[in-house]
Amino acid sequence: MEGVSGEVGDFKVTLLKKARYIREDKCTGCTTCVEYCPVMVPDPFNQEIGKSKAVHIYFSQAIPLITYIDQSCLYLKEKKCGICETVCENDAIDFRQKDQLDQINVGAIILAPGFEPYDPRVVTEYKYGIFGNVVTSMDFERLLSSTGPYEGEIRRPSDQRHPHKIAWVQCVGSRRVTPGNNSYCSAVCCTYTQKQVILTKDHDSSAECTVFHNDIRSYGKDFERFYERAKNLSGIRFIRSYVTISREDPVTKNVFIRYATPNGVVEEDFDLVVLSVGLNPPKYSKELAQKLGIELEEHGFSKTEPFNLIQTSRPGVFVSGTFQGPTDIPESVFTASGAVSQTGQLLKHRKGKLATERVYPEEKEVAKEEPKVGVFVCHCGANIGRVVNVPEVVEYASKLPHVVHAQEQLFSCSTDSAKQITDVIKEKGLNRVIVAACTPRTHEPTFRDSLREAGLNQYFFEFANIREHCSWVHSMEKEEATKKAKDLVRMSWARAVRLEPLGEYELQVNKTALVVGGGVAGMTTALSLAKQGHEVYLVEREKELGGIVRRLHYTLEGLDVQGFLRDLIKEVYAHPLVHVITNARILNATGYVGNFVTRVQSDGFVKEIKHGATILATGATEYRPKEYLYGQDPRVMTNLELEERLAKGDESLKDLNTVVMIQCVGSRNEERNYCSRICCSQSIKNALKLKELRPDVDIYILFRDIRTYGFREDYYRLASDKGIRFIRYEPQSPPLVGVTDEGTLRVTVEDEILGNQLEIDTDLLSLAVAVVAPEGVEETALKFNATVGLDNFYKEAHVKLRPVDFGTDGVFVCGSAHYPKHIQEVINQAYGAAGRAMTLLSKETVTASGAVALVDQNACISCGACITVCNYGAISFEETPKGKKARVNPVLCKGDGLCTTKCPTGAVQLQHFKDGQIMAQLDAAKGETDILAELDRAVGE
């Protein structure tokens, strides 16, 4: 991107398209050029651990899956070589390509430039690039990966041996005010390290793994359990100490690490040291900011609006992902959807004007024809071809009955090859297509599309997986693998000839949304949807909107929360498309994606709401502690209670000499095995406020791990700067709180570093209590077919990739109902849920798969087994002339087939996976040798 002019609604962006020296339309990704290229270069994708060629594909699953030529190319450097040009059969090499300037006009811009891993070479203390066996965590990811430099074997740089004793050093480049490091916490390293530890143990169960850290920051959803899991593996140590990487053994090249313990410094050697590097702003962020005319915050990330981290300093330019600040994948995903929602607010009038729907040819009626099967066997570059004899498989397939066409393809999934499939279908009148390649997970949609393009029902497509199920797992047994590939093709053939065409279900979408919960999350989502032209019902259990935020008054950064809340509530009430119902109870909810009906009761009336999407934003609440004399001594209170007193301007707070705060009250224990995420920052926030009131007040914060992730770390240091003292306690010896005979409130806690038991006589004790799900969350979940997790927070469809969706289509989640969050994070996620809901609400219809269960009501004996087992509530009884019979609502059915296994009479059949189709496939597995005979023999022995 070279520059941006214009303004919101009409940006002109100049782009520089770098020469690839490859004609994108001609390259098939066959990699012949790569084989012949004589120039070896360090592979950038593999962190330069492995080698690659000057012409190569960026990585095995790159999109587009075509080569590019690197500047190390001999021809580009000195006009020599050019071998690739000669060997390329498709004429795809083009050395005349030049960088091209291009201009595009757009209405809005979303920035998602990501981050740059911290480079530990900036300072010498990490010894990266100095000691051979010190690698970064990014290097280690590649070592772990099956597509990495050693094909998934962990080998260390010095001698390629498998390291057995590995150390991870945390906070490399993070949480340090020394030059060359970042003051903030990079927020992801603690947990990715635990992941690497677990994966290392998967590779080598006897591996000894040691993690050196100062606080473990497992503040995200399910992170605490993940930490426990890593910690409890055998041979794992988590040691609380930053370290000195001191020396290298001249012979073994092992790396020595010095670490501190309360009993002195220990020096120990490791086979390999992994630096858990943090997240820097993207490399070109300054340049980018300048070209875009946006401002950066002090650490070099995007500056944003205080209560809207998606909005940059320039209207029409939004930011998602780690450019907001260090963050993990789910947040990068929902801030993306959030940026989309805010874009939609701006550009709703343009929707659908430039993009065009795809139109497919009309489907031909072929069900009654003789099967005419086409088989396409994919080489997948060398992935399959190197192991399986593809021509032999083609030859074999061509001899199977009904097969009228069989051929090989280098990459069946390439645009060219997919089109070739379409052409052959038309040309030869195929009515069944088998592709023998990879898994339906990746490319089934691609090939179904090829069928549709040829006017064939997409359910006539069948996939044979000869990569994951064959070439990848039998790479050493080429002959056997070829035989197995034939078996797999034959099995697919047996099923393919029995396939039936299926229709998909088109459903109208109701354009109205229902938002359950009128806190900041619910209000933000509701407003964003309304601003995109959708009617929204916002229902709230309490008398007033605002939720728990009504009790918050300021943020760690010093923002005025109540002012923000007032404005938000005002805006909600003022928007004509948002209908607020307070004092509301959800009576029941029925329907399915695009067509829900929910009955809401409030103040004596019942309203029936028809809506296409549902967003659950039911929030969270504060745990009522039983610990530490809470409720028994008036000097003991929760953080929120203290905040309320601070906000009210309680004069007595100015007389306090000593204040103690205890962290993790009700969190991170057996009963609630999760971190409440916000309490460390909350305590620091209150402590800083108290210091403002009275600078000489003594404040002690008793904690287990301080979890001020991201930029919040700066406030942790600020708190220290203001003289707030932090004392670590271990869960096995928690602080003791008592009242002395004189009536003094006394907190006693051990300090391991001092080697003393500290008694603190305090005037006030504030408890950082857990954030818990509100009562009735399970009931609400049940009504909307949503799920709740172990800790009673809603469970999303996919932790990483679908963080605000539920498994149930059309239902979304945001805010603290998903997991405790800071207010800006809640707003981020609320916009995210709105963005996701908009992908549904902006459509006229939705399509549901045809591969759903169907009940033969004649065979149904009304036992209800299928109804009980269905996770989606897709089956119910309906009254028929023959009595109650099970009926599947095809729109709700996810096609998992559970019901078919439970039905005692076989009345339920899963379309596309009917018994006959599957049995035929299984029978075909036997092939020429009779398995039963073999079994008999085995039993006989």
């Binding site: 020394t178 609380r240 010095r258 000593t658 570093i753 003393n756």
Partner: protein, 385 residues
């Protein structure tokens, strides 16, 4: 575990802050300081604990521990929170000095202080003999108008071994036609080390006298032999609102070589390891100039020690430790000598009188007299010019 009630320590917390120890409040107990501290190579010592004690008022000022820190600068260089452990330690020593509590190994400080008060040098040697090292060579006294004051430091002025360094330096300066002179009697110890040993008042007195004499004599530029003098002139004397132009002798030598004023005629066919003095390297970021000088000496093979540049291992002489007693088995200098022998050095060269003192002692203790020579960089240059 001993139980303490923190309300009883509030006043001590304040007293510690007033003594100049302030940054302890930043500590988040990561322990990095302990892992980088040279003490933990010879015995257990926790600067982290001292810092934390200071912040809770639980400091044990009567204890020897607060006197251990050699102010080598390794931990503040890396502290992720910006704690200045040296300042914290010095603050505690000021308190101890104020209360007159000195554990046995620290007791010599009293005599040293007396010497500094009476004669302006830690040995209590006669002030009038300060320039006696110039007797055998021709060194002019400093007068108004001369470009450089050469400030040799107390050790090269009085110590038999180190006088050779002062003389070598003076010879180089003369040979390169540098306009320089010495003050001699009117010169005091720079005061750097006694300040680190907690005697702030004495430091101020020495510094003020020096400043007055320098100004009276018309000094503008100073060449210093000791990195400690260099450090305090450059970074601490400005507290008195004076700004002399300060050069360490290695910087000056490098400049001479660059300008072609210093010609190396001879060869030095030895394997030489260079030791970075803490106050030259870590405290003042001078790593290149001494190495550049050595690299330009024909025949000289320059070796690096295992802990070099930012990681250099302290000789043990800073922070007033040069005057305190350290048991043989706890001397860092001995480790350093072993490192030099292990890399195959015949000469261990450095640029600090304290380092040379400690290394020469260690050479005797470790019986390395035949194997390893200790040199100041000026001694080598003088030999080959």
């Amino acid at each position: 575990m001993e139980s303490v009630n923190l309300s009883e320590y509030k006043e001590i917390v304040e007293a510690i802050k007033e003594s100049g120890a302030k940054t302890q409040r930043y500590c988040f107990q990561c322990g990095l300081c302990d892992t980088t501290c040279p003490w933990n190579r010879v015995r257990d010592f926790s600067i982290r604990r001292i810092v934390r004690q200071a912040s809770f008022g639980l400091a044990e000022i009567e204890n020897e521990e607060i006197w251990r820190c050699t102010t080598c600068g390794k931990c503040p260089q890396r502290c992720p929170r910006g704690v200045n452990q040296i300042e914290v330690g010095v603050g505690l020593r000021r308190l101890a000095t104020q209360y007159g509590v000195f554990p046995n190994p620290v007791k010599p400080i009293k005599t040293i202080a007396a010497g500094l008060v009476a004669q302006g040098n830690p040995f209590g040697e006669d002030r009038t003999k300060r320039a006696n090292w110039t007797q055998e060579i021709d060194v002019p006294p400093f007068e108004e108008g001369i470009e450089y004051l050469y400030f040799p430091c107390c050790y090269p002025s009085y110590d038999k071994r180190l006088k050779r360094v002062a003389m070598a330096t003076a010879k180089i300066l003369s040979a390169t036609e540098t306009q320089f002179g010495v003050i001699g009697e009117g010169e005091n110890c720079c005061g750097e080390s006694i300040r680190k040993a907690g005697d702030e008042e004495l430091f101020r007195r020495l510094a003020k006298e020096n400043i007055k004499n320098f100004i009276d004599a018309g000094v503008k530029k100073i060449i210093a032999t000791s990195p400690h003098c260099y450090h305090t002139f450059k970074n601490e004397y400005p507290e008195f609102r004076v700004n002399f132009e300060i050069l360490h002798v290695t910087q000056y030598l490098f400049g001479l070589l660059e300008e072609g004023k210093l010609k190396i005629k001879g060869q030095y066919n030895r394997r030489v390891a260079y030791h970075d003095p803490c106050y030259l390297g870590r405290h003042n970021d001078i790593y290149e100039e001494p190495r550049e000088v050595l690299k330009r000496i024909p025949g000289l093979t320059l070796l690096e020690l295992p802990d070099f540049r930012e990681d250099s291992l302290c000789c043990g002489g800073g922070g007033g430790r040069i005057w305190m007693e350290t048991p043989k088995e706890e001397r860092f200098s001995n480790l350093r000598l072993q490192q030099a022998v292990e890399v195959g050095a015949e000469v261990l060269v450095t640029a600090c009188p304290y380092c040379i003192t400690n290394f020469e002692d260690g050479r005797v203790v470790l019986n390395l007299e035949d194997k390893l020579q200790i040199k100041d960089i000026t001694e080598i240059v003088e030999e080959v010019m």
